[in-house]
């Protein structure tokens, strides 16, 4: 297999369009998500490693956040008043790096170092080396408590800055999340939004067969969060919900984003085998063909 090299990282760079018409924003998010998927598939194929299934399930959420929700841009990435996005499911670092590159936080050419010896682009993100990363995640169940801490700091500052955290659904089996949700509710952190990438699959099996989360909506409601369910591949639904802060005054928001692992690639979608499988050259070509043919690719699941 050809090793990852500079010719494999040729994606366009997008810019936030905070003031654009919503339809234009959504079209841009859809195109960004499509390009991020194309680049991420190449990255995983040529690097020979990665978590492509979870990457693909979360890319629409990432593209929506960076494309039109978060008030951050490459030049304001250190602004204390920036919105925070914490990627709790740190194993989709590849998707995060490509997203950061797509929106100008990371030089596109740096993607060619993904997972290479001494690269700053580790299999899990490191904020000390990658601008735009807020926490060094990887072990599961860490992002939500960190997000709660940041949301408390914003409240102490009487700041309008918002906190977003993306967790996997399997990850919610970690008890620390529920500790954090109790605290989020107790402190009435209504500028905190928890996004669950509800793809219903974990490493080797479905969440249901492993340790079922249902009824997830009732559980989160019982913990004092305002629950809303969206199609996690529908940019319009995502943009509407993620922009609505606070969603319910006095309550943290718990967005159950229904997704498919491997979306929208036909042979990967909703298939447990693609948790961290690496596409062959032929599979990469098929996947890229599907993404090129799709119009628009980020549409309904």
């Amino acid at each position: 297999m050809t090793a990852l090299a500079s010719e494999h990282v040729t994606m366009p760079v997008f810019h936030r369009l905070p003031d654009a018409h919503r339809d234009e924003q959504i079209a841009r998010i859809a195109e960004a998500a499509r390009q991020i998927r194309i680049q991420d598939l190449k990255l995983v194929h040529y690097a020979g490693a990665g978590h492509i299934g979870g990457d693909l399930s979360a890319i629409d959420i990432l593209a929506t956040l960076y494309g039109a929700v978060l008030n951050i841009a490459p030049e304001t990435v250190d602004d204390p008043e920036r919105d925070r996005f914490i990627l709790s499911k740190g194993h989709i670092a590849g998707a995060l790096y490509v997203t950061l590159a797509a929106f100008g936080f990371l030089p596109v050419e740096d993607l060619a170092t993904f997972l290479k010896p001494l690269s700053k682009l580790n299999g899990h993100p490191n904020r000390n080396y990658v601008r735009g990363v807020e926490a060094n995640t990887g072990p599961l169940g860490h992002g939500l408590p960190i997000a709660v801490g940041h949301a408390i700091s914003a409240k102490l500052d009487v700041s309008r800055r918002r906190t977003y955290v993306l967790v996997g659904d399997g990850e919610l089996q970690e008890g620390s999340n529920w500790e954090a949700m109790m605290a989020a509710s107790h402190y009435e952190l209504d500028r905190l939004t928890v996004i669950v990438d509800r793809n219903r699959l974990q490493q080797g099996a479905t969440v249901r067969e492993t340790n079922d989360l249902e009824p997830l909506d009732h559980k989160a409601t019982a913990f004092g969060l305002a629950v809303v369910e969206v199609n996690g591949h529908d940019h319009r639904e995502l943009l509407d919900v993620l922009s609505a802060v606070p969603f319910r005054p006095g309550k943290p928001t718990f967005v159950i984003a229904h997704t498919h692992k491997g979306h929208p690639i036909s042979f990967m979608s909703n298939n447990t085998a693609w948790h961290h499988k690496v596409p062959s050259a032929e599979q990469l070509e098929l996947a890229l063909d599907e993404l090129t043919a799709a119009d628009p690719p980020g549409g309904a699941a």
């Binding site: 709660v148 914003a154 102490l156 500052d157 605290a183």
Partner: protein, 338 residues
Amino acid sequence: MTDTRVLQGGTTPLEPTATSRDPRQHSIAERPRHDCRNAYVETLAELAHENHRIVGVVNDSVGSSKLDAFKRAFPDRLINVGIAEQDMVGVAAGLANGGRIAFVSAASCFLTARALEQIKADVAYSNRNVKLCGMSPGMAYGELGPTHHSIEDIAWLRAIDNMTIVVPADPIETAAAMRWAAEVEGPVFIRVSRMSVPELYPKDYTFAPGKAVTLRDGEDVTLISNGTVLWRALVAAEQLEDAGISARVISMPTVKPLDTEAVLLAARETRGIVTAEEATGAGALGGAVAETVAQNHPIKIKILGVPEFAPTGSAGFLLDRYGMSPEGIAEAARALII
């Protein structure tokens, strides 16, 4: 005088109050004793008045950390997440992300054991400005037993990169270490004991991270200690002097990074080193000293610590049992150089 702080930093020589009078007339053992938690809460309140970025984070440990007055003074700035240590440390890292300086205050046994992965990933690896204050460490909870003892904390945290570990020996050093920790950006672990200890440092003592303090000079043998055992080592040195043995006493408040220069000076200038601490010894101060000596200038070492799940008893009783009474430390030193 082999005070490495004087040699390396030009710091004012530390004149321990012990040497200002005849130690046999007024032994350190007879001095009034203090609970370091009082110095901890007073200093935390002072720091909070001086700097609005300072917040406390607790796991229901308001009373056990003596933070009731702090809570009254700064009701919004004491974040109590309830009995949830993993959340507590993650929240502290998130507060640091928001520009706050979080002083996490929790029983050391629960803070370090329950939240070890958060300490590693969210604080140390993420390089967040979090101060982990391990309350009532070692065997301070005495009869409550090994579930509540925290003899392993030093060894666990010493294995983590980007972590400074401080074990103050008296209220003055506790306050000084906290003042330093509030100033420096990055992760720090400070042990704060509830066991009563005499004052060992002058009131104007300033904490120098990574620096040993030679509290008593000596040529025959060296005692290296910190925390609640340091005063015992000083009394042991008094007893050794009575027996005609000249013992150097090195206070090693910073276990990581270790002042290897002070250790190697002792290895070259004296005939043996005894380490004594209210911790496992293995992997802790004793381990750190042994690693340094064995790799650079091997001499005889005796590591005193708590090697097992301790039986029922008070902390004082148990320290004596594990050879860390003044007499026990003196005997270990004597045996080493005979």
